[in-house]
């Protein structure tokens, strides 16, 4: 089963994304913020990361930048999950190495189809 790491400081958001992904047949790992996600990745790579941008301790952009430094994670898709439809944020994410984005509030079916769009 393919493993997805969900990074969000909001419990309800993690639950919603997690539930959607499990329904979609993925194994889910959760992290509360960027640093937590990096710690979780020490146990081994995942097939994809879905991350919030605005988080305490370590924000999503910094996380993406850091993840791209991990050899095993270089070619794994990363989706930004964000309320910020702001172009500037998107650009920053893209520059850091994000593969794509999903806008909150997300539609579960749309989230799964977006994942299908980036996951080999």
């Amino acid at each position: 089963m393919r493993k997805v790491l969900i990074v969000d400081d909001s419990v309800s958001m993690r639950q919603m994304v997690g539930y959607t992904l499990r329904q979609g047949g993925f194994e889910v790992i959760e992290a509360q913020h960027g640093q937590d996600a990096l710690d979780k990745l020490k146990a081994g790579p995942v097939d994809m990361i879905i991350t919030d941008l605005n988080m305490p301790v370590m924000d999503g952009i910094t996380l993406i930048r850091n993840v791209r430094q991990i050899p095993a994670m270089k070619s794994k898709p990363i989706l930004m999950l964000t309320t910020e439809a702001l172009a500037a944020k998107k650009e920053a994410g893209k520059a850091a190495g994000a593969t794509g984005w999903v806008v909150k509030p997300f539609d579960p079916e749309k989230l799964l189809s977006t994942i299908a769009k980036v996951l080999p």
Binding site: T20, A116, K117
Partner: protein, 728 residues
């Protein structure tokens, strides 16, 4: 597949309540540290999280409102505007709006002040609004287009760097192919270098795809949504002219990317549809509790151990031989250990830090400060102190009253404080801590203090005491907790008419707590609430009184004394006391207090003959056969006269009030290992009574053998409120 997210609504509501509380306390902190970016970021994140979740559950108004709020916060965060008192006041009012919008009772209706607030917020950040207006234009017209077969040529030239974003061009091509029938694919490999020069981290290839599809062109564009900055993409319709109304009908028309349209499409797709479903699940407001996973994990471990211990024990019982006995004992002991720990851990689940409750009062004090023009600061301490959840909830109202009272009546006006040579700013301290297994809450103010003379005058005026009543200053001060008492003529918006303080006392007592007050005129007041950690379980000292087993809360036991002759003395007209190390402690004979004496006399003649005449007999008779257990509640000690100590045991407290009416002196009952019911003595309740006055009728009118002694001394027979009157 339909994925329903409404089940997470409860979590969202909880989380949002936390966010709102956090916004509120951080806003208040911002007053002293304006421009603190960490605080501003935290506030922004909270507002942002609320907005992020709100859309998923149909809180459309909440989304709209938080959007406005967020814009203002963003301005603050970027230091484009400063957090003036005016801005903070607007933001605090917004916090109230957020609460209302999330309250299931309001069904997400905008409160009346919401739109004016939004307008105020927008006034602070004009520019933001116009951007929002354009962004929220629905872009569906474009998406809906075309149910006709069209042929496109799609040119896809990824940048060399496209792999950096973990984009797989093959996946994109596959997704594209899924949208229709591909008639031709051309691979452009002209950029491919010789193998020696090839960097596998770069993409040298490009593709041109020709395909026929029924889908609108927007869907084709959407395939490349994430790579528009990482590739050159041209989509050209080949088979026909674009329809005339699109304008510029050129066969080679390159369709521009409506990037914004794609994003807004997603935004628009969700909220409305979800509304009905999420509403439906909102009605039942179940009481829930959030528990850290560590606590749950340990519980699961323990249950595992318990199951193993049980299996082992069962096995031994199955193949039992006398030699097994020591092992069986061991196994049972292990089970007992597990059970006890499990018990404690389960109880710990109900324990919550008081901080969440304390935080609200920062706002309470701020509001009173704003309304009265007083400068008041609330200082919190011991916020991490844990207390049973049900107690925490039951404490909310009493603490509100006490804090309001301190802010409104306790702290003087700025002028008065200056005149008294005090710092202009009044300080109220609210702290919690554990002391010998109990939770202590203190509300300390540096205000005017409670003046016993004024209390006395008021109490006489209100007819609560007689003008000639002899009361100590402490007793007088406690009068403020009597029903119908108020020291203030002016009725204030916050503290009401002195209704409340008596309710505070009642509520604290209902929690088996003790309320005490210390005050010095001109210096301030300290109100202390002492509470058991939990209502559900306590460490008990089992004692025998006559033929009954009673439980004393072990925490209130100070010492046990076998009195020697002369140690017990009778105070004229009042009752008995015991002298312990020069301290005089009033005595209470539980046997009589609980009305067991008479019953005993008919049962065992030998013992009762002396008991029934105890009232007018030499006190030495008690000495022969009794023990005194000294218990303490608040700052008051009582010596309880009883017959025997039986042991120490954890007991589960069962309420009696569901079955009997409130029995003074008894806080509940427990079921012992042998199935017997044992009442638990309410030490705090006893300490609150005037023992001498309870004893008085006994010593002046000794009962005859056979007369029902329960009438005057048994708590069962007494009227409510008598204890309060006894003071006067």
């Amino acid at each position: 597949m339909k994925i329903d997210l409404s089940q997470f609504r409860e979590t969202f509501l909880h989380e949002s309540a936390d966010h709102i509380a956090s916004i509120e306390s951080h806003l208040l902190a911002l007053r002293t540290q304006p421009g603190d970016t960490e605080i501003l970021n935290t506030i922004f994140r909270s507002a942002h999280s609320i907005k992020g979740g709100a859309g998923s559950f149909g809180f459309d108004n909440l989304v709209r409102f938080t959007h406005g709020l967020e814009s203002l916060l963003d301005r603050l965060r970027n230091a484009e505007i400063t957090a003036s008192e005016e801005v903070i006041a607007i933001l605090l009012a917004s916090v109230d709006v957020l609460r209302t919008l999330l309250d299931p009772a309001t069904e997400g209706q905008m409160p009346a002040n919401a739109d004016p607030l939004l307008a105020q917020m927008n006034a602070f950040c004009e520019a933001e609004t116009s951007v929002q207006a354009t962004a929220s234009e629905p872009a569906s017209a474009e998406v809906k287009e075309a149910e006709e077969l069209a042929v496109y040529r799609v040119e896809f030239r990824p940048d060399r760097e496209i792999f950096q974003s973990a984009t797989n061009p093959i996946v994109l091509l596959r997704n594209l192919a899924d949208l229709g029938r591909v008639s031709a694919v051309e691979l452009h490999q002209d950029a491919l270098p010789p193998l020696a020069d090839l960097d596998p981290g770069q993409c040298y290839l490009a593709w041109t795809v020709e395909m026929a599809t029924l889908r609108p062109v927007a869907e084709l564009q959407e395939v490349f949504e994430f790579v528009e900055h990482l590739a050159e993409i041209r989509i050209v319709r080949l088979d026909a002219e674009s329809r005339p109304e699109e304008g510029q009908p050129s066969a080679e028309a390159v369709l521009a990317f409506p990037a914004a349209a794609v994003a807004t499409d997603v935004v628009a797709a969700t909220p409305g549809a979800k509304k009905a479903a999420s509403r439906a699940s909102s009605s039942g407001e179940a009481s829930s509790i959030r528990v850290s996973t560590d606590k749950v994990d340990r519980l699961i471990d323990l249950v595992g151990e318990l199951v193993i211990a049980h299996v082992m024990t069962a096995q031994m019982v199955e193949d039992f031989t006398p030699e097994c006995l020591p092992k069986l004992r061991q196994a049972v002991a292990a089970m007992e250990r597990n059970t006890r720990e499990l018990h404690e851990r389960v109880m710990a689940i109900r324990m919550l830090p008081v901080g969440t409750l304390f935080q609200r009062y920062v706002r309470t004090v701020y509001d009173i400060g704003q309304a009265t023009g007083k400068q008041i600061r609330l200082e919190l301490g011991g916020e991490e102190t844990e207390i049973d959840k049900s107690m925490l909830e039951a404490l909310a109202d009493p603490l509100t009253h006490l804090i309001r009272n301190a802010a409104d009546h306790g702290i003087e006006t700025t002028e008065q404080r200056i005149a008294a040579g005090k710092p202009q700013e009044g300080v109220i301290e609210l702290r919690a801590f554990h002391r010998s297994g109990r939770v202590i809450l203190e509300i300390i103010d540096d205000g005017a203090g409670v003046d016993p003379a004024r209390v006395r005058a008021k109490a006489i005026e209100r007819g609560l005491i007689l003008p000639e009543a002899q009361l100590s200053d402490d007793q007088l001060r406690m009068m403020i907790f009597e029903p119908g008492f108020s020291t203030r003529d002016a009725v204030s918006e916050f503290s009401g008419r002195g209704v409340g303080m008596d309710v505070v006392k009642k509520n604290v007592q209902r929690l088996n707590g003790v309320l005490s007050l210390e005050s010095e005129v001109g210096k301030g007041t300290t109100i202390t609430i002492e509470l058991p950690l939990t209502l559900a379980i306590l460490e008990g000292l089992l004692v025998r009184v006559a033929d009954r087993t009673l439980v004393l809360p072990l925490l209130s036991v100070v010492e046990t004394v076998s009195p020697s002759p002369g140690q017990i003395q009778r105070v004229a007209e009042q009752g008995e006391v015991v002298l312990i190390r020069d301290q005089t402690i009033p005595l209470l004979r539980l046997e009589r207090f609980l009305g067991l004496t008479e019953r005993e006399s008919s049962k065992s003649a030998g013992r009762s003959s002396s008991l029934d005449r105890l009232g007018d007999r030499s006190v030495d008779e008690i000495v022969e056969r009794t023990l005194i257990v000294v218990v303490e509640a608040g700052r008051k000690k009582i010596g309880l006269v009883l017959d025997e100590l039986l042991g120490q045991q954890q007991v589960v407290v069962k309420s009696l009030e569901r079955h009997l009416h409130k029995v003074d002196g008894i806080m509940g009952a427990t079921i012992l290992g042998d199935g017997c019911v044992a009442p638990i003595v309410d030490v705090a309740g006893l300490a609150g009574m005037n023992l001498f006055s309870l004893q008085a009728p006994r010593s002046s009118a000794p009962s005859e053998p056979g007369t029902p002694t329960t009438q005057s001394t048994s708590p069962m027979g007494r009227e409510k409120g008598e204890t309060a009157n006894a003071m006067v």
